[in-house]
Symmetry: C2
DNA sequence: GAGTCAATGTCGCAG
DNA sequence: CTGCGACGTTGACTC
């Protein structure tokens, strides 16, 4: 990993064209050749970047560039997509490099999969019935849970951490398709999430989809600790 | 901007919980207090981070941490969301800081807004008619273009750089709502994009939505240079 | 501040 | 490899 603090200007051409005027910025060059241009604000997204796989070449400035004060030009390109990032360095404030070794990787805990698993064991929260299966297949992707309620009605359940409009659309597509299967009649839908945004709720209910709020802590409390990872 | 190369371990708790085992990484501390943890690969996304507004405090390691070899502990928190990022520094390889000054900002060309603007001036590409307005309002968000064609039929147009299934869903919602307005009858939809994925096209045409491919270079060629930024 | 939509989205998994 | 959905999405803009 190499980091260069430098006064620079940047041109990007690829999916779009973008341009950065002369200013001081942090340039990061990673071991895989990828390059990031960071300013001293914003968030984690760089102002410009080039993703791997890419190759970086350094060239001398041409006459015009030299006259403008350019000391060095970096050209980073992705041959496949023909994206090109050109960084013109003027004054270089600092240039540091360190070997970081291997990255063990990020470990994530407790996401939607866990919520779905808990809910599969606690069908009562959805009004009861019996679980047919998790990840019930349809031609356009699996429904999170398929249940048959105590009246014999099939229930397709979409589980989300946060219930938004996209989730309702997704469940609607599933219901649309599953509704064509005569063996799955009658059929209804439940949209279950830790929180459901008002517009998502309105859209869901307008389409006859029931909304259920899930209490993760409560669900986890009922869960058997010995079955879980932590 | 401060960059620290250090052997460290990281814990994050917020929307989810995540942790990073001990390894060498680059820590960036920006002027606004935000912190990024980068490895020597991946892409521009950090392994962990804390977005502004947030506050970073540095504390001495406790007894247990000292025994484990921790030299310093960074705690970065966002009071609003109660997100917390804890970075335990073991060996510090380097610690650099430079003032970058103000960032003039990124200038972009070729994004959807530009495509929409060009298309508004070149309604012929959609079969002709007259533009009623860009960003035609509906209760669930604005339609990119509203046109009245030569037959007097209203045409709601969704413009995308890349036409995918989400865009068709979006336009369908608009058509659904606008179809209830008796003043906008008859009404049809056009899905216009630089490229349209096969499934998106199938879905669109199944719903009676016409698909139109846009040639950006051609559209830009017809555009009047004096009206544009560069 | 909430809602809505775009993004050089990126990432990860399954087919 | 491609499609597809999730993401601590982030960011920009409107109401």
């Amino acid at each position: 990993m190499r980091t260069v603090f430098a006064q620079c200007s940047v041109e990007y051409s690829g999916r779009l064209d973008a341009h950065l005027e002369l200013a001081n910025r942090l340039l990061m060059v990673k071991a895989d050749g990828s390059v990031l241009v960071h300013s001293d604000g914003g968030s984690y997204k760089p102002l410009n970047w080039m993703s791997p796989p890419c190759t970086m070449s350094v060239r001398e400035p041409d006459g015009e560039e030299t006259d403008a004060g350019v000391s060095e030009v970096w050209e980073v390109s992705n041959n496949k997509t023909s994206d090109l990032l050109v960084i013109r360095l003027f004054e270089v404030l600092a240039d540091y490099a360190h070997d970081l070794g291997t990255e063990p990787g990020l470990i994530k805990d407790g996401v939607e999969a866990h919520l779905q698993q808990l809910l599969a064991e606690q069908v009562d929260r959805l009004g009861g019935g019996s679980l047919i299966r998790r990840e019930y297949p349809t031609p356009i992707g699996p429904v999170d849970l398929m249940i048959r309620d105590t009246n014999g009605t099939y229930v397709a359940v979409e589980v989300k951490r946060r219930g938004e409009i996209d989730g309702v659309e997704q469940l609607t597509r599933y219901l649309d398709l599953l509704g064509r299967d005569p063996l799955l009649q009658p059929l209804r839908g439940i949209f279950a999430a830790q929180a459901i945004k008002p517009q998502a709720r309105v859209l869901a209910e307008d389409r006859g989809i029931e909304c259920v709020i899930l209490d993760y802590d409560e669900m986890r409390g009922i869960d058997h600790p010995e079955d879980r990872l932590f």
